[in-house]
Symmetry: C2
């Protein structure tokens, strides 16, 4: 059961302000919840339908620190950030991101990515290609936005994601910078580097001038058809596959 106060608290977490204040975030749905329960993350609340709790008893038992609430569909709907809630919602403590610098390995830098689906998908791509660091400009959508968590599919657990002024980060990282651009070198003609920083720009404005100036390599996926552009996450996936894949 959820008390009125708990219900109100969890509902408030759909707003970034309250997530920040309490340093928690929401992870929802069958697959995502199992990823988080199967990890060492500290869970604060587990709200589940009776059926899901029955099917996932062992996972739930891994988290004695969490308050467990058996809820019905209506209660779940009242706290969910999804249009169609899926059996389970977790409130998870946000970790302070590590601040170790990537060294001679790939990392991905996001310059003002606005769409939470894009950010989550890029984190999932990083997770697939073994990229351990994603650095987000302060103008990006919040790392713990529910839709980011949703589309990252557990990527937050394996990828170190943090917010930093990009200029400072690039200076410190001191690695070759590859900027995804519509007017750069044909990516098929770029020699496959073993490490570097891949910068993905804002969905409509691209990469800011200051960051472009720092990029030794502006790279482009050549267009063979009529589309004006590619989606930011798809571009990130293609570039990772071409530069890092094997």
């Amino acid at each position: 059961m959820l008390s009125k106060a708990q219900n109100k608290y969890i509902r408030s977490l759909s707003l970034q302000k309250y997530r920040k204040e309490h340093n928690v975030f929401i992870a929802e749905g069958d697959k995502i919840a199992r990823e988080w329960l199967d990890s060492d993350a500290r869970i604060q609340h587990i709200a589940v339908t009776e059926e899901w709790a029955g099917d996932n008893r062992a996972l739930i038992n891994r988290h004695p620190e969490a308050a467990l609430h058996i809820v019905d569909d209506d209660q779940l709907k009242s706290i969910s950030t999804l249009q169609t809630p899926h059996h389970v919602l977790l409130v998870v403590h946000a970790n302070r991101p590590g601040d170790e610098m990537p060294a001679n390995e790939w990392c991905i830098v996001l310059d003002d990515i606005q769409d939470p689906g894009n950010m989550g998908t890029i984190i999932r791509i990083a997770d697939w290609f073994g990229v351990k660091h994603v650095i987000c400009s302060p103008g990006c959508v919040e790392i713990y936005n529910p839709k980011v968590v949703q589309s990252a599919m557990g990527g937050h657990l394996r990828v170190n994601i943090r917010t930093a002024p990009l200029d400072d980060f690039l200076q410190q990282a001191n690695m070759p910078v590859y900027a995804a651009s519509l007017h750069g070198q044909n990516i098929y003609e770029v020699s496959k580097p073993t490490y570097g920083v891949l910068v993905i720009g804002n969905e409509s404005k691209g990469i800011s001038e200051a960051i472009l100036d720092r990029a030794q390599h502006k790279i482009t996926i050549p267009r063979l058809g009529g589309a004006e552009s590619l989606n930011a996450a798809v571009s990130a996936g293609i570039i990772c596959a071409l530069l890092m894949g094997r």
Copy 2:
């Protein structure tokens, strides 16, 4: 101005049933609307804010067949399928898709893609890589779902998209079939074919057995990190880049 009846009619088009009945669909937002107005599509209604109409007079004048409605933000919101409407909404006549078969060229086949964002993004990818045919299984989300139209970014104008039983299509097409799978040949070791059918499967179930049986090539993007899978549209983008890009 929109009459009450027109308002009701346009609102009804958020449901597939009424889109099918009237053979129209909705295209919304600045960029998408400009793509459609700049085309030879037959437009039925143009609902725009005064400002947008002023800025895009020439585009609007290309469509004397359309009923033009100057609306305020509240009216636009009442007919919009978006959470935050963007200045303009079009009701567009759906074309009967062409039924010519792809011949010695790439085409993309979607096996029960459910997420409209994924379908739209894959159409945009096809459009970028010059793939002229996308064939959707009857179990896919509707081709003219507003979110598909939104994320395809005008791809419907340049890509021939149609629904067909995949088995029949593959038999007729008679081209080598490449199936995206989690357990196939390393895509980096596949020789770059000049044409074929690329099959992308359902977001959770993948490609159906019957279609997999027809695939001469099961191909996999090797995983280098911890993610369980890649998003369907991202996989499609990566495979297109690796097989068709240059």
